[in-house]
C-alpha cells in the first residue's frame, strides 16, 4: 500500500517536473527534453519487442520513417491537422510493420535481427530512391505544425516549441502508459512467457508466432508515433530515419538503460542524449568519450543503468532490513 503510494507520488512528481520544464529551463533544454521523449517513445515501444518478447530487431527505423513520412505526406496532400497526421503516421508504421513482421517473425534470434535489418534497409533504399514522393536524400521538408483542433471549435496552437512541448508530452505520457499497461496485461504476460521460454508458451496453448507478429506491429506503431512527432518537431522527414544506424539507437539505449524495466529505455535515452551533449561541450572527440563511457557501462553494469540503480537500492533496503 505505502509502496504503491510512494510510487504514485514519485510518478506525479516526475510528471509535474516534466510539465514544468518549459517554465523553468532554457529553450535548448526544452528541445532536448522533447528529443529525449521522442527517443523514449521509440525505445519504450522497441523494448516491448526486445525486453518483453526477447526479439532483437534492427529494422525499427523503417517504421519510424513510415510514421514521419506518413504524417508529412498526409499533411501535404490531405490536411495538416496534426492529430490526424499522427494517427496516419502510426497507421502507416503499423502497416509497414505488419508486412515486415509477417516475413520476419517465423525466425528468431540473430536470423530475426538480420531479416529485420534487410527489410529496414529496403525501406531506406525505397525512400532514398522514390525522390518524387519522398524528396530523396534532401528529405521531405517543410512539414508545418498546424493548430490542434479539439471538440470542433477549440484550437490549440502548437507552432512554438513551448506549446509543442505539451503536445509531445501528452503523447509521451500516453505512450508510456500504454506500454506500462501492455507490460502488466495478459498480453504482456504472454509476451514475457515467449521471451522466457517460447516452447513452454506453446505448451500453454499460445500461438506464439501470432503473438510475435502482434507485438511487432505494436512496437512498430510506437516507432511510427515517435517518427510522426519528430517530423512535426523538426519539420522534416529524412531517409536516414529508416537506416540501420537509426534502428540501432533504440537497441543501444535499451541496453544502456536496462531491458527489464519500463523506464530503462527512457533512462538510457536520456543518458545517451545527455552524455553526448555533455561530452560535446568539452571535446570535439565526442566519439572517443562516448565509446569509453559505453565500454564502462557494459563492463561495469551489465543490467544497464536501471539494473544498477535497482541493485543499489535493493542492496540498501536489504541492508536496512538487517
Amino acid at each position: 500500500m505505502t509502496e504503491s503510494r510512494i510510487r504514485y507520488a514519485v510518478l506525479a512528481a516526475l510528471l509535474l517536473a516534466l510539465a514544468a520544464v518549459p517554465y523553468v529551463s532554457g529553450k535548448f533544454f526544452v528541445y532536448l527534453t522533447m528529443r529525449v521523449m521522442l527517443l523514449g517513445i521509440f525505445a519504450v515501444g522497441f523494448n516491448l519487442l526486445l525486453g518483453q518478447t526477447g526479439l532483437l530487431s534492427f529494422g525499427h527505423g523503417a517504421f519510424y520513417a513510415a510514421g514521419a513520412y506518413g504524417l508529412g505526406l498526409f499533411g501535404a496532400y490531405v490536411t495538416p491537422n496534426p492529430l490526424l497526421g499522427v494517427a496516419v503516421g502510426i497507421a502507416a508504421a503499423a502497416v509497414v510493420a505488419l508486412l515486415v513482421g509477417y516475413l520476419c517473425v517465423r525466425h528468431t534470434e540473430i536470423y530475426f535481427a538480420m531479416l529485420t535489418l534487410a527489410c529496414g534497409m529496403m525501406v531506406f533504399s525505397f525512400v532514398w530512391n522514390a525522390r518524387s514522393i519522398t524528396g530523396g536524400d534532401d528529405g521531405f521538408i517543410g512539414i508545418m505544425r498546424a493548430p490542434v483542433t479539439l471538440f470542433g471549435g477549440l484550437r490549440l496552437p502548437i507552432g512554438k516549441d513551448s506549446q509543442f512541448y505539451y503536445f509531445v508530452l501528452a503523447f509521451f505520457v500516453l505512450a508510456v502508459w500504454v506500454a506500462h499497461r501492455i507490460r502488466i496485461s495478459p498480453f504482456g504476460l504472454v509476451l514475457s512467457g515467449i521471451r522466457e521460454n517460447a516452447r513452454r508458451t506453446e505448451y500453454a496453448g499460445i500461438p506464439v508466432r501470432k503473438y510475435r507478429l502482434s507485438v511487432f506491429v505494436v512496437s512498430g506503431a510506437f516507432a511510427g508515433l515517435a517518427g510522426a512527432l519528430e517530423a512535426l518537431l523538426e519539420s522534416n522527414a529524412r531517409p536516414f530515419m529508416a537506416h540501420w544506424t537509426h534502428s540501432a539507437e533504440p537497441v543501444l539505449v535499451s541496453l544502456l538503460g536496462g531491458l527489464s524495466s519500463l523506464f530503462g529505455p527512457i533512462v538510457g535515452g536520456a543518458f545517451f542524449i545527455a552524455m553526448r551533449e555533455i561530452i560535446q561541450r568539452y571535446t570535439e572527440n565526442w566519439m572517443l568519450g562516448f565509446g569509453v563511457v559505453l565500454l564502462v557501462v557494459i563492463m561495469a553494469f551489465r543490467g544497464g543503468i536501471m539494473g544498477a540503480v535497482e541493485n543499489l537500492f535493493g542492496r540498501r533496503s536489504a541492508g536496512a532490513g538487517r
Binding site: K27, Y31, G136, I141, E234, F240
Partner: protein, 431 residues
C-alpha cells in the same frame, strides 16, 4: 533573454535608432578603432558569438578541419585588431556529423543555450534544407559556407522569405550551369556522368544538361551512373561510361570519392578514351593534394574557391598567411569559413548592431572584399555572387600537385539563376 531582444528590436524600430547606428557603422567600417569608442554604442553588448558547425567525424572529417583553419584564422585576426565593432569574437565549433537532425540540434544549442549571435557552416544540402524552416524561429543570421543546393536560396530565402539565411559559397550554379558554359566550346557532343546518387548529383547533372542543351543544341547525354555515398569501388561505374563511348564526362563526385574515382578511372584508361572531362569540384585542395602527381592532365576543374585566383594582393597574402599558420594551401571551405566571419564583421559594423533584423538589412546587397575576390550578397536570395575560375589540370614544378592552368573566368552573373527563379529568363544563358 529572448524577450529583452524583442524589446530592443522594437525599440530600435520605433525610434529609428537602427538606421542611425547603421550609419555610424558605415562610417566606421573598415577602420580599426579603439574599443572604447565602440563600447559607447549602446546597441552592441557583450562579445559577438558565432556558432559554427561542420563535419568533424567520419570519412569527410577533413572538410571540418579545413573549415576550422579558415574560421580560426579570421577570428584571431579580427580579435587581434580589436574585434568586431570593438567586441571580441567568440566562436564555438560543433560536429555536424552530416546528419540533418544533428544540424538542427547544434543550431538550437548555439542559439538557445550558448547564446550565439550568428550561425555558420553546414556542409550537406540535407542539413541546410532541414535547418531552413527553423531559421525564422531561431532568428539568427545563418551563413552557409559549404552546402550548395540552390533550393536553399531559391525556395527558402526567395519564395518563402526565410531572410535569416545567407550563403557565401558557390551554389550548384557553378557546378551545373557554369560547367555547361565551359563545355559548349568543346567539340564534344555526347556527354555522360558519374555522379553521387543523391540530390546534389542529380541537380547538377540536370542543370548541366539543360544549360548545355540551350547553349549548344544537338548535344546528347548518353549515360548516367550514380554512386551511393561511401562508394570506394567505381569500376562498374567506369565500365558504364566506357560502354557508352561519350566524348565528354561530367562528374560531381567530390572529396575522397573523387580521388578513388580518378585513380580507378585512370587505371582503366578512361582519360585516354574521353578527352573532355569536367569536374566541378575537382579543384578542391583535398583532391589536388590527394591526387598529387597522379592527377591526369587536361581535366577541367573548378571549385568554390581556388587558391590561385584571383591573383591579387589580398588573396596572395592570405594564402601565404594561411600556409604559414597551417602548412596547407587553403581549401575552398577554408576561404568560405574565413570570409563568413568577415561578412559578419562587415555586416555588424555596417548595421552598428548585432541584432538580426539590422544585420540582415545590412547584408542584403552588401559587397565585401575577400580572398576569393569581391562578393556581393544578392538582395533577393541572399546568395553571394563572386567569380571562380575553371581551368585545366597541369603540372607546375612549384607545387607538389597539379594546378589549374588555362584559367577561364566567367562572370558569375552570367550563369547564376536569377529571381524569380521560375519562368523564362531566369536560367542562363541570359540575353
Amino acid at each position: 533573454m529572448q524577450k529583452k531582444g524583442i524589446n530592443r528590436r522594437q525599440f530600435l524600430k520605433l525610434t529609428g535608432a537602427g538606421s542611425l547606428v547603421a550609419a555610424a557603422g558605415t562610417i566606421g567600417g573598415g577602420l580599426t578603432l579603439p574599443k572604447g569608442l565602440w563600447a559607447a554604442t549602446p546597441a552592441i553588448k557583450g562579445p559577438i558569438k558565432i556558432g559554427y558547425q561542420t563535419v568533424l567525424s567520419g570519412t569527410l572529417a577533413g572538410y571540418g578541419e579545413f573549415h576550422k583553419m579558415g574560421l580560426l584564422m579570421a577570428v584571431d585576426e579580427i580579435n587581434a585588431k580589436g574585434g568586431i565593432a570593438g567586441r571580441k569574437v567568440e566562436v564555438e565549433v560543433r560536429d555536424s556529423t552530416l546528419k540533418p537532425d544533428d544540424a538542427i540540434k547544434n543550431a538550437r544549442y548555439f542559439v538557445d543555450s550558448w547564446g550565439a549571435d550568428f550561425l555558420g557552416g553546414i556542409d550537406s544540402s540535407g542539413q541546410a534544407l532541414a535547418l531552413a524552416p527553423l531559421m525564422d524561429k531561431l532568428d539568427r543570421v545563418l551563413i552557409v559556407t559549404h552546402a550548395a543546393t540552390e533550393k536553399l536560396t531559391e525556395d527558402f530565402v526567395y519564395r518563402k522569405g526565410v531572410r535569416q539565411i545567407f550563403r557565401n559559397c558557390m551554389p550548384t550554379y557553378n557546378d551545373g550551369n557554369a560547367a555547361a558554359f565551359i563545355a559548349k566550346d568543346f567539340p564534344a557532343v555526347k556527354w555522360a556522368t558519374v555522379s553521387p546518387k543523391y540530390e546534389y548529383g542529380f541537380t547538377c547533372w540536370k542543370m548541366f544538361r539543360e544549360t548545355l542543351t540551350k547553349l549548344k543544341p544537338g548535344v546528347s547525354f548518353t549515360a548516367e551512373s550514380w554512386a551511393p555515398f561511401g562508394t570506394t569501388d567505381f569500376r562498374s561505374h567506369i565500365n558504364t561510361i566506357l560502354d557508352a563511348k561519350p566524348d565528354g564526362l561530367y562528374s560531381t563526385e567530390w572529396a575522397g570519392e573523387l580521388i578513388s574515382f580518378l585513380k580507378q578511372a585512370k587505371e582503366a584508361g578512361l582519360f585516354d578514351k574521353i578527352r573532355y572531362v569536367m569536374l566541378p569540384v575537382g579543384a578542391a585542395m583535398d583532391v589536388l593534394e590527394g591526387m598529387g602527381k597522379d592527377m591526369p592532365d587536361n581535366l577541367w576543374i573548378s571549385g568554390r574557391y581556388y587558391f590561385q585566383y584571383p591573383n591579387n594582393k589580398t588573396n596572395n597574402e592570405w594564402v601565404a598567411r594561411f600556409r604559414k599558420r597551417w602548412g596547407h594551401y587553403p581549401a575552398y571551405v577554408s576561404e568560405t569559413a574565413y570570409s563568413c566571419v568577415y561578412a559578419i564583421k562587415e555586416a555588424v559594423e555596417k548595421a552598428g548592431s548585432k541584432d538580426t533584423g539590422a544585420v540582415i538589412q545590412a547584408m542584403e546587397g552588401m559587397g565585401m572584399n575577400s580572398p576569393a575576390g569581391h562578393r556581393v550578397f544578392r538582395k533577393e536570395d541572399h546568395q553571394a555572387i563572386y567569380d571562380v575560375p575553371w581551368g585545366k589540370t597541369k603540372a607546375d614544378p612549384k607545387f607538389p600537385f597539379k594546378v589549374m592552368g588555362d584559367m577561364k573566368v566567367l562572370p558569375a552573373k552570367e550563369y547564376f539563376n536569377r529571381p524569380p527563379f521560375e519562368g523564362p529568363g531566369t536560367t542562363p544563358p541570359f540575353k
